[in-house]
């Protein structure tokens, strides 16, 4: 009788543990909430500033419906790994709120295992907080050096080589 009670308790524990980790990607060790956090333009600026003096930063605004964004996304993930010690990547999804789960799914598919962001609020203050030179077209990329100085920014998709060129420039400047 005692044994069967222990087995039931063990099973309950196992089931609860399994459900508890549902929102956590087993392979990535990061919760869904951390993997894709809501952000405003101002909050994002603070995140970018927090890397000043530590690492160069590449900010990339993307969306699941944006073909050039999806095309260039793996290049940026690869480069983050390649320059891990000197570069941080801040991905910001500009998907519509109804597409949030799709964005999360895509991040997992791409093996993103660090905190990324989900744009909230009105477009104009968000765009202006990120760059005066950005018209709002996606994708948008901005590369800053360790001191927080903008080395390059551009709208439109880009190839691996272009990302690497400006990442190197940001790291070496």
């Amino acid at each position: 009788m005692m044994k069967s009670k222990q087995i039931v308790l063990f099973l309950c524990f196992a089931v609860l543990t399994a459900f508890g980790s549902v929102s956590e990607s087993a392979a990535q060790h990061i919760s869904d909430e951390e993997l894709l956090k809501d952000t405003t333009g101002e909050e994002l600026q603070e995140v970018i500033r927090s890397y000043q003096g530590e690492k160069a930063v590449l900010v990339n605004v993307w969306a699941t419906w944006c073909a050039p964004c999806i095309e260039e996304f793996p290049y940026i993930v690869d480069l983050k790994q390649e320059y891990e010690d000197e570069l941080h990547v801040v991905f910001v999804s500009a998907d519509f709120p109804s597409q949030r789960d799709k964005a999360l799914e895509f991040l997992k598919e791409q093996n993103v295992d660090w905190a990324t962001f989900f744009k909230t609020g009105k477009d104009q203050p968000f765009i202006e907080a990120l760059s005066n030179d950005w018209s709002g077209a996606l994708p948008f990329t901005k590369v800053l050096n360790k001191e927080g100085k903008v080395i390059a920014s551009w709208e439109q998709g880009a190839e691996y080589e272009k990302f690497e060129r400006y990442i190197k420039k940001a790291i070496n400047n």
Partner: protein, 208 residues
């Protein structure tokens, strides 16, 4: 003389070195500034009806509204429920309306004239929807995304550019109907404020 030449060479080298440290902004053509004249107004474009038009011909007595739009952008889809009502309002106020499709790089992937005709039909477009075949007009306007608005007065001078309003997803939850306000103020002879706005959108797929 030799010293002068050396100074020039040094100055050039210093300038090049300095430029290398400036931020690089990959910009396409500059966006039309407020007050600028509409460019390429005599260039012929073909509407989904087969009619061949120029911007000059589309313009009304009080001005012209140009929207760079397309078939494949979710932001266009989000704002599309405002296309016909804004057209009605503009035309009632003597402003001609045209949407131009600049997505030249993906004509075989949803942005052909056939696709435009199908979209105009399925979404009951009540305005000209014409092909900017090689995106020459978009380039001349300095448009960057879809949708992207340019409103001109009766002298074909730019008076407002940017977003339709501040809420793509819900017409009911718009706080700032930028374009409607601009049209009303234009015909009333009042100051337009703001004259430029920004919103997220899909990049124009420029010809390769």
């Amino acid at each position: 003389m030799k010293l002068h030449r050396l100074v020039y060479v040094l100055l050039i080298l210093l300038s090049v070195g300095f430029l290398a440290f400036l931020p690089v902004e990959d910009k396409l053509a500059d966006r039309l500034e407020i007050g600028s004249k509409a460019p390429l107004t005599d260039v012929e474009v073909t509407d989904v009806s087969g009619e061949v038009l120029t911007l000059e011909e589309v313009a009304g007595e009080n001005g012209l509204l140009v929207n760079f739009s397309c078939n494949t952008c979710p932001w266009v889809e989000a704002w599309e429920d405002r296309y016909n009502p804004i057209t009605k309002m503009a035309e009632e106020n003597g402003i001609g309306v045209i949407m131009l499709n600049p997505n030249a790089a993906i004509r075989n992937d949803g942005e052909s004239m056939d696709d435009m005709q199908a979209r105009a039909k399925s979404s009951n477009y009540d305005f000209y929807y014409a092909l900017d075949e090689q995106a020459k007009l978009a380039e001349a306007f300095g448009a960057t995304r879809t949708p992207d608005i340019f409103l001109f007065n009766s002298n074909m001078e730019l008076v407002y550019t940017g977003a339709i309003d501040d809420n793509a997803k819900s017409a009911e939850e718009v706080d700032q109907p930028y374009l409607k306000n601009a049209i009303q103020n234009l015909v009333a002879g009042k100051e337009i404020d703001p004259k430029t706005t920004k919103a997220l959108g899909c990049t124009i797929k420029w010809p390769k």
